[in-house]
């Protein structure tokens, strides 16, 4: 599934009423199964871009086409459903839900997509990320690396066609960064899933076949 952004504009209205442009992207494309590292400075609009692509927010104008669907034109419930079924999300701070075990956190992603909870697949994925022995542990009892691996398993459970990762290695120590990155990339390759990974680390970006600087195609900043 490919991603194509065309003439995407997004501004925030400041308290004094003036519009602060965040995104102004004429063209951006990600092919099906492609893996890109998107590098940008803080405040460069990286997170806003991910929110626009995932349909959490809508652009002021422009097209955000995933596969053949312009997500910007969908209603909010449709965007939510599309996100749940087609897009995986990995956050910088993992964002696991404290009330649920590792297995339940993975199953939760399935519940919101309207699928029947497939415990076998969830366990399989957790096994792949090396957490077979930690299925029933809550996030508070898992190490940072383990939490990030649960987050990876959760993002892939619905077999997404596009995986958005927002600084997924930023909270992981240097020793585990490569492992987490390898895990994400391998999983995406196996599932033929396009990967857009946002990072400010040149070291992380260097491991990707394609690296884009946000400032090169975002004219708002």
């Amino acid at each position: 599934m490919s991603l194509r952004l065309k003439d995407v504009r997004k501004s925030y209205i400041e308290q004094d009423g003036t519009a602060l442009p965040i995104l102004a992207i004429s063209q951006f494309e990600l092919k099906s199964g492609e893996q890109i590292a998107l590098v940008g400075e803080s405040g460069g609009g990286k997170t806003t871009l991910l929110n626009v692509i995932s349909g959490i927010t809508t652009p002021d104008s422009g097209e955000v086409v995933i596969g053949s669907t312009d997500i910007a034109k969908l209603s909010e419930p449709s965007r939510d459903r599309f996100r749940a079924q087609r897009i995986g999300f990995i956050f910088q701070t993992f964002n696991l839900l404290a009330a649920f075990t590792a297995l339940e956190n993975v199953l939760l992603g399935m519940s919101f997509s309207g699928q029947r909870a497939d415990r076998k697949r969830a366990k399989e994925l957790l096994g792949k990320v090396g957490l077979s022995h930690r299925l029933n542990h809550r996030p508070a009892t898992l190490s940072v690396g383990e939490q990030q691996r649960v987050a990876v398993a959760r993002s892939l459970v619905n077999r997404p066609m596009l995986l958005l990762a927002d600084e997924p290695t930023a909270s992981v120590d240097a020793k585990h960064q490569a492992t987490v990155l390898e895990l994400i990339r391998t999983a995406c390759s196996e599932q033929q899933c396009a990967l857009l990974l946002v990072t400010h680390s040149a070291e992380v970006a260097a491991q990707f076949p394609r690296v884009e600087r946000l400032s090169d195609f975002n004219k708002a900043v």
């Binding site: 404290a98 939760l108 919101f112």
Partner: protein, 467 residues
């Protein structure tokens, strides 16, 4: 995972806060249930027990006290009325049943009231279409006794068991006469379950239950005089009543008879009595008294007319049990019930506000959690229903726990209430009101859940994820 499971796990995550919130609801419901159950029991006991009789006739005084004492075995008897008066009532063709009641003694074990009466007492239904069930037989011999189910259970008595009555006054004198249990009543849910019924003739044979002769003589004369005047005024022949008692010297008496009037204590309490066994002397009617007479009429209009006639005379009063109980239920029990219900409803509302505050405050901490769910694809309505379910689960869980606690409280308090009031409490009695309670709690929870649910619904996902 469905919404209820997700909500339940969120509740469990905040176990302490959730438990305290649910507990506050449970306490409110517990109070309400216990009030409803006890009120229902009191209502039932009072209304069931009055339905068998049209009038209670006893000495002048408080009609309410007369009814409470005679039918519910509560409090002390007002005074006694002459046995001759009972005989007159018995012969009145307008009266279908006239049942004498004599009180004053209790059992040594369990302190159960002993009631001297006739077998006719058991022939009337204690509640419409509910007749006494007796294992064994009714009162046949003078020293026969029939006991209520509760007495049998608590004292472990059975047919053939014997007991000696104890004088009910503070002296605690144990009578020599032994009564034998010949029948055991089935449970009725009325104060009769805690009654010990002995034959009225046996009652009069208990030493000291006779009216002192001099006093009896005076009363008999007064009564005869009054009857003569009444007959003259009506232009009919006066009834045949003795104006003097048989030439027997006044017998010394230690007791004032059946909760009886107050004869002076005599130095030789039991002179002339056979302490070893039963004392079978026939007491003259003039020396007998009854505490009350239960009357049943074929037509209620006759009861009203008879009540007016009795109340117009100086010897007795006639009280309508239904009227007295209706008064007490409406003016005392009813008001207390409403007061308690209003208070418990207020407690429930306060508990509801507690749930609201608890969930609403938690929303600030949970903005990120909600945003994550939304980012994973949960719709606005999904997060609304999760929060709504939490509110309903807390209220319903607290409500159910409160219902159990309420009945538990009644179970715990039942023996104490029974001992204090003499009423029989069935702690597992279920009130129809309770069926309304749970839907009402869910209704309250729904109201409470709307605002926090809307807060979840409106969460700005992008902002919350960045925070």
């Amino acid at each position: 995972m469905n919404l209820v499971t997700i909500a339940w796990k969120s509740i469990r995550q905040r176990a302490l806060a959730s438990s305290l919130t649910a507990l506050s609801v449970a306490l409110g419901v517990m109070l309400m249930v216990s009030v409803l159950v006890v009120h229902g029991i009191v209502n039932r006991v009072f209304s069931q027990s009055t339905s068998g009789y049209d009038l209670v006739v006893g000495a002048k005084g408080s009609p309410l006290q007369l009814v409470l004492n005679t039918i519910y075995h509560l409090g002390d008897p007002v005074e006694n009325i002459p046995y001759l008066y009972y005989k007159q009532l018995k012969e009145d063709p307008a009266i279908e049943h006239a049942i004498p009641i004599c009180m004053g003694d209790v059992t040594q074990k369990g302190n159960f009231r002993i009631i001297g009466t006739t077998s006719e007492f058991f022939l009337l239904p204690y509640h419409p279409n509910r007749e006494f069930q007796v294992r064994g037989h009714l009162l046949e011999d003078d020293f026969d006794a029939v006991i209520g189910s509760q007495v049998a259970k608590e004292n472990g008595w059975d047919i053939g068991s014997q007991f000696q009555p104890v004088h009910g006054a503070s002296d605690g004198h144990v009578h020599d006469e032994k009564f034998t249990i010949v029948g055991i009543l089935g449970p009725t849910g009325t104060p009769n379950d805690k009654g010990v019924f002995i034959d009225i003739d046996g009652f009069y044979q208990i030493a000291g239950h006779e009216k002192p002769l001099d006093e009896a003589q005076k009363k008999a004369k007064d009564f005869a005089e009054f009857e003569r005047k009444k007959a003259e005024a009506a232009g009919v022949a006066p009834p045949e009543l003795p104006d003097a008692l048989p030439g027997e010297k006044p017998a010394p008496s230690a007791h004032d008879g059946a909760a009886e009037t107050k004869p002076a204590a005599k130095p030789d309490a039991h002179a002339g009595h056979d302490h070893a066994g039963h004392h079978h002397h026939e007491l003259p009617d003039e020396q007998k008294e009854v505490t009350a007479v239960l009357l049943k009429f074929e037509y209620v209009t006759l009861a009203i007319r008879t009540a007016a006639k009795i109340n117009g005379e100086p010897y007795a009063q006639a009280a309508q049990p239904f009227k007295e109980i209706y008064w007490i239920l409406n003016n005392v029990v009813g008001n207390i019930r409403w007061l308690l219900i209003v208070m418990t409803v207020l407690i429930l509302v306060v508990s509801g506000v507690g749930i609201f505050v608890s969930i609403y405050n938690s929303m600030a901490d949970r903005r990120r959690e909600i945003a994550v769910m939304r980012a994973l694809g949960a719709q606005r309505s999904t997060v609304f229903w999760i929060i709504f379910c939490e509110s309903v689960l807390l209220c319903a869980g607290g409500g159910l726990f409160g219902m159990l606690l309420g009945h538990g409280l009644v179970v715990f308090a039942a023996p104490l209430l029974e001992a204090k009031t003499g009423l029989l409490i069935n702690p597992w009695a279920f009130e129809q009101w309770e069926l309304v309670l749970l839907p009402a709690m869910i209704g309250l929870a729904s109201l409470i859940g709307i605002i926090p649910g809307m807060t979840a619904y409106r969460t700005d996902v992008a902002k919350a994820l960045q925070s």
